[in-house]
C-alpha cells in the first residue's frame, strides 16, 4: 500500500467503488495486490504473463460480484483476491498439465465460496468462447447488430441508422431474429451441448 489516499480506503468502500468500475480503485487493487499474486503464480510454475492473466481473471470475478452486490467478505480484500487467484491458477495448471494438484490444494488457505466463484467464472469463460464461435456462424448483419447492441451498447436508433433500417422498431425486430438464431446455435442445435464445458 504505497498510495496514501488508497490506504484510507476501507474494504467496504473499495468494494463499492469497484462495483462502479472506478479507475482509481482498479489502480489501487493493482498496486496493493498484484505483486503478491505475481510472486505466487511465479513460484507455482507460472510465467509473468500467466500471473498477469490470472490477476485479470481474479479482478474480473471480484468486479462481477461487487456489481451484483454479492461480495460479502469475511476476510481482508487482499487475502480474498489472493485466494481467488490461487484457485484460478491451480485450475489452469491442472488443465494444462492434465494432472491434479491436490498437494498444493491441501496447503491452501481455503476461503468459503472461492471454489464456487472460480468454477462459475470458468463456466462464463467457456460460454463466452462458445458465443464467439457462434458469432462466426450467424453472419452479417446479425453479428454487427448484436455486437452493437450487446457489446458496444448502442441505442436502437443508432443501430437503425448504422445498418440502414427504416426505423428503430425494424431494427429491434431484426435484433430479436438474430438473437433467436444465436440462441439456437448456442444451445444444442449446433451439436455443442450445454454440458460440454471446459471446466
Amino acid at each position: 500500500m504505497r498510495d496514501n489516499s488508497a490506504q484510507l480506503l476501507s474494504d467496504e468502500q473499495l468494494i463499492r467503488s469497484l462495483a462502479l468500475g472506478e479507475s482509481s480503485t482498479i489502480s489501487h487493487i493493482y498496486k496493493s495486490c498484484y505483486p503478491t499474486i505475481e510472486k505466487m503464480v511465479f513460484k507455482m510454475n507460472g510465467s509473468l504473463d500467466d500471473a498477469y492473466d490470472t490477476f485479470q481473471d481474479a479482478v474480473t470475478i471480484l468486479y462481477e460480484k461487487a456489481k451484483a452486490d454479492e461480495l460479502n467478505l469475511t476476510c481482508k480484500f487482499s487475502t480474498y483476491i489472493t485466494a481467488v487467484a490461487k484457485h484460478i491458477w491451480l485450475k489452469k495448471l491442472t488443465k494444462k498439465k492434465n494432472q491434479s494438484f491436490s498437494i498444493l490444494h491441501e496447503n491452501m488457505e481455503d476461503l468459503i465460496g472461492v471454489d464456487q466463484d472460480v468454477d462459475l467464472f470458468f463456466e462464463f469463460e467457456n460460454n463466452v468462447s462458445k458465443l464467439t464461435s457462434c458469432f462466426q456462424q450467424i453472419g452479417e448483419p446479425c453479428k454487427g447488430v448484436l455486437t452493437a447492441f450487446y457489446i458496444t451498447n448502442k441505442s436502437m436508433q443508432d443501430i437503425a441508422e448504422e445498418f440502414g433500417y427504416t426505423n428503430a422498431e425494424n431494427a429491434k425486430t431484426q435484433k430479436y431474429k438474430c438473437l433467436n438464431r444465436l440462441r439456437k446455435l448456442f444451445f444444442n442445435e449446433n451439436g455443442v451441448t450445454q454440458n460440454e464445458r471446459a471446466y
Partner: protein, 362 residues
Amino acid sequence: MNEHTNKYETVEKYCLGLMDDKEKMFFEIDMENNPALSNLVHEHKTLLKAFDHHNNKEFISYSLDAIHKHSHSHTTVVLKHLKLNVNKYWRTASVAATVAFMASTFTFLIARSVYKKDTHAQYQLLKGEINTIKKDQKAIKTEVDKVKKDVVPLPDYPSKFSGTGFAISKNGYLVTNFHVIDGYTKIFTVTYDGVGHQSEVVATDEINDIAILKIKEAEFAFDGKLPYSISIRKSNLNLANRVYSLGYPKSEIVYNEGYISSTTGFEGDTNRFQLELPSGPGVSGAPIIDETGNILGVISGKQSQTEGVTYAIKSKALISLLKTLPKDFTLNALQDNIIKGQSRSNQINQIQRFVCMVKVYN
C-alpha cells in the same frame, strides 16, 4: 413476426430486471405454467450473462492494461537483484557449492555401504539358538516326571533350537513354524507343566513356514477344552486391531501385545501380515490372538532393522494345512471359543496352558 418480437422483448425486459413488481409477478405466473417460456428465459439469461461477462472482462482488462504497461514487474526486479548478488559473491558461492557437493557425496557413499551391509540380515527368523545349559526348576521337574511316567525323557544335552507351538486339539496336535523343526527328527514339546513330550512332524507347508506336530504318547491329552478359536475372517485383520501373543523366548512363557500395522507381510507378501509387536528369538510359532480370543496367525519372523516389527502367517494358510490332517483331528473344536467376553488376564490364564515350547535336538 410481431408477436415473436414482443415475446423476446418481454423476456429480455424480465431478464434485465426492468419490470415493475406487478408485471414481474404476472410474468412469473406465466413462466410457471409454460415450461417453454421458462426455458427461453433460462437460455436468454445465459446469453445475456455471456455478453455481460465478455464486457466485464474487456473492461477490467482495458483498465488494468493501462496500469500494468507502466509498471515494473516486481518479480523481474527481484530476479535481477538475485543475479547481481550471485555475481558479487560468486567466489564464496562456488566454494559453498563445492563443500555441499562433497558432503552429499560422502553421505551417499556412507549410506550405501551401511545399506549393503544390512540387506543380508533384513529378515531374521526367530529361532532361539541355545548353547548353554540352563537347568532350571522346570528341567528338574521334568527329570522327576520322567521317573514317574514311563515316557521318552528330554535329552540330557542342550537342545539345538527352540521355538513356540500351540495346541490345536486336545489329543496333542500342535502348530509351530517349519523353520523351527526343519532338518530335525528329535523334537520335544514342553507343555506348560514343564514336561517334555516326544513329538513328530505330521504335516508341513514350507512356503508358508508352518509345521504341524503331534505328541507321540498315545494317551496324551491337554487339560481342559481349547480356549481359543481360529478365525480366517478378513475383518479380523483390520489395521490397528489390537492383538497379543504368548511365546517362549526364554524358559518361561512371555506375554506381548501390539496391533496389526499392515495387512501384508515382508515385501508385500499377502500370505502374511505385519504387526507392531515386540518379539525375540524363540517366539517363532507363537499364536497371534485378538481381543475376542481368535487366533489370527502364527508369528514367523521379524524385520531386523526395525524394532518391534513382527511378521505373522495368516490363519488362512494354516487352515488349508489343517484340512490335510488325519481323521483323529477335527476343526470343530477351533470354530468357537469360550473366552470371548473374558478379561485379558482370564484369557491368558487359560491360553497359556495350551502354548508350549518346542525344542529340537541333534
